[in-house]
């Protein structure tokens, strides 16, 4: 599938309210840097993501999101974030917010995430009936990973921040009826500085911010 078709699929899956905030960067990386989507690969985390999505929908947090009261902010490794968003789609609209321009010889090279983006993108439901007024914002945790300084001598640093520039404006979150945000990450992973800043601003704007974690062993 062509990058532009994939881009449109992810935008449509995000729905009319937040679809216009889906960044073009990963699709541009496919189009310009990598000459097309990466070859489809077996998705290593797919089964885990499916189980996780099923379990998540049955939690109190999952119910709050399905009711449109709060949105999930999924801050997990790229392929897992994509897989979870994909498997939640029947109940929650995935809003892709990957904002890095993946490149070879860069910190974010998109090798695994690119394959997952293409594979899940091709299989996203395109029916507008599927789009629910309930949202999960998908972030790639690698965007703000620590990198050994020596690695940066010859590896392009294309990491980026999730914050006001990447997330939909707070006004739009409020207009969509959202009263809270639920941060979802692996247990032991502290909220990175970029999101902590965003949550602080969101909190000052009247949104409640909660956190829930995934236990890797589970």
């Amino acid at each position: 599938m062509r990058p532009v078709a994939l881009f449109r699929r992810w935008k449509r899956a995000a729905g009319p309210v937040f679809g216009r905030f889906v960044p073009a960067a990963p699709f541009s990386a496919m189009a310009l840097v990598n000459s097309g989507p990466p070859p489809l690969q077996t998705l290593l985390y797919d089964e885990t993501c499916r189980k996780l999505a099923t379990a998540l929908l049955q939690t109190l947090e999952g119910e709050a999101v399905q009711a449109g009261e709060a949105a999930l902010i999924i801050d997990l490794p790229g392929p897992v974030s994509l897989g979870l968003g994909f498997h939640l789609q029947a109940a929650i609209s995935p809003v892709l917010l990957f904002g890095g321009l993946w490149q070879p010889n860069a910190v974010l090279n998109g090798q695994e995430s690119g394959a997952a983006l293409a594979r899940y993108g091709e299989n996203l439901s395109q029916s507008q009936n599927v789009v629910k007024p309930a949202w999960a914002f998908l972030l790639e945790r690698e965007r703000f990973d620590e990198v050994p300084p020596l690695k940066l001598i010859d590896t392009l640093d294309n990491r980026y921040r999730a914050g006001l520039g990447l997330m939909p404006p707070l006004l739009e979150l409020g207009q969509a009826g959202l009263g809270g945000l639920i941060d979802l990450r692996l247990v032991g992973d502290n909220i990175p500085e970029d999101l902590a800043e965003f949550y602080e601003i969101a909190s000052q704007a009247g949104l409640d911010v909660f956190q829930t974690v995934i236990n890797q062993e589970a």
Binding site: P23, A24, F27, S28, L32, G100, I153, L156, D157, R159
Partner: protein, 437 residues
């Protein structure tokens, strides 16, 4: 000056929103305008600005003339020394570097004068983006695409279809112009092809794409180019390395006010001063971007030792009167003026005097880095935007027309259209010659 809005509305009323979407998707994916969605609004407008032959002739001449005037002005400022530097807000620590950096071939390799057309039909110079102007992909890739679809609606012509080649040639020539240290003897013989580094903040995606765009064009001309994030800069034996490789020349798409806070900035400056690193956009070009220089220019407009008579006339007629706030009395009537920060970008830190409170006026004075420029009564043109219901909506909007100064000559136009003060929400639209007039 007019726009194609009415013809577009007539032809594409029902398809307008879809056309805007497709255009912006293409611009983002293939045109390098990765941040083409500003707070959910498209950056590329589906419209074109049309200039009459007279307007084009005028902006072409003004761009080249003001390029020459600014070159003279900067030479005079640099020679004037520290007292003048202080008045213009230049940091003392960089006095020596500004005074003694090796001269470049051009004041700016690729710069842009931004003009507004007043109600009398005359261009007025609003600012000079001499350090790191944007717009390269817009006036090449995006404009070519829009021209294919919109040029059938009216008799129009592109202003300079070779602007991409002109930009690449200017970079090439400047990169090969050796950085001769102050008082060094003339270099003999041709210079070997330098390895050119492009320095940017890679998380600013459009900047990254712009450096990639230039790097690709220069690789096609045989130059070895490296694109690097600021965190990929290292130092070995006093030599600056980008992505682990030594470089001979550098073009920085990164604000110098930020770079100067990095410990590596001293090495960058020193390497330039001793002639081992060519800085394509050097400190002089950066200072030229300061709006304080416009105030200096206004103050010196009658200086016949510096400017020829026709240059004085140009400043008087086409530069709105501009003052450093420090030179104005506290009770100055600022309401007819726009208050601008020396290095403010994208409409940031710009205040309309008509809306300015006395407290904010006082704050601007205390900050010491603001100018007051007389407000220009700008001409509007019809423009089309996508409305709330995804319908084509006709509005009156203010164009700001940039004249590209490439290798000291006019090379094309880049226009933004939107609110009275151009800000990050303003859309890009191409600028063409109106053959019907």
């Amino acid at each position: 000056m007019r726009s194609l809005a009415e013809q577009i509305l007539k032809q594409y009323k029902k398809q307008f929103a879809a056309r805007v979407q497709i255009l912006n998707e293409w611009a983002a994916l293939y045109g390098g305008l990765l941040e083409s969605n500003v707070a959910g609004q498209p950056y590329v407008g589906y419209n074109a600005l049309l200039l009459s032959q007279i307007e084009l002739h005028s902006i072409t001449a003004l761009t080249t003339d003001f390029g020459r005037i600014m070159t003279k002005a900067l030479q005079a400022i640099v020679e004037a020394g520290p007292a003048t530097y202080r008045k213009l807000g230049w940091p003392e620590l960089l006095d020596y570097a500004l005074r003694y950096e090796p001269p470049n071939l051009y004041l700016t390799t690729v710069g842009r004068f931004d003009f507004g057309l007043n109600q009398a039909g005359e261009w007025q110079l609003l600012e000079f983006n001499s350090d790191t102007p944007s717009g390269s992909q817009e006036v090449t890739l995006i404009e070519e695409r829009l021209f294919r679809s919109l040029s059938r609606l009216a008799p129009v012509a592109r202003l300079n279809p070779r602007i991409a080649q002109d930009m690449a040639q200017a970079f090439y020539d400047e990169a090969l112009f050796a950085p001769m240290p102050y008082t060094a003897p003339e270099e003999e013989g041709p210079r070997l092809l330098p390895r050119l580094g492009f320095l940017t903040k890679a998380r600013h995606l459009t900047d990254l794409a712009q450096t990639e765009y230039y790097a690709t064009a220069l690789r096609d001309k045989g130059l070895e180019c490296i694109v690097s994030d600021i965190l990929n800069v290292s130092l070995a034996g006093g030599e600056l390395l980008l992505m682990g490789q030594p470089i001979d020349a550098i073009w920085r798409l990164y604000p110098i006010e930020n770079f100067s806070r990095s410990p590596l900035f001293a090495a960058y400056t020193q390497a330039n001063l001793i002639g081992v690193l060519k800085c394509l956009n050097n400190l002089r070009g950066f200072l030229a971007q300061s709006k304080a220089v416009m105030a200096w220019l206004w103050q010196e407009r009658e200086n016949s030792e510096l400017f020829e008579a026709h240059e004085q006339a140009l400043i008087n007629r086409y530069l709105p009167e501009t003052y450093l706030l420090a030179d104005l009395p506290e009770d100055f009537d600022y309401r007819p003026f726009i208050i601008k920060e020396f290095y403010g970008r994208e409409g940031a830190e710009v205040f309309d005097g008509a809306d300015l409170t006395p407290q904010r006026w006082q704050e601007c004075r205390e900050w010491g880095t603001y100018v007051a420029q007389r407000r220009v009564d700008l001409t509007t043109v019809p423009h089309l935007v996508v409305g709330q219901q995804e319908q084509a909506q006709l509005v009156e909007a203010f164009p700001c027309v940039g004249g590209f100064l490439v290798a000291a000559k006019w090379a094309g136009c880049y226009s933004r259209i939107g609110a009275k003060i151009t800000n990050s929400q303003a859309q890009f639209i191409p600028t063409w010659l109106d053959l019907a007039q």
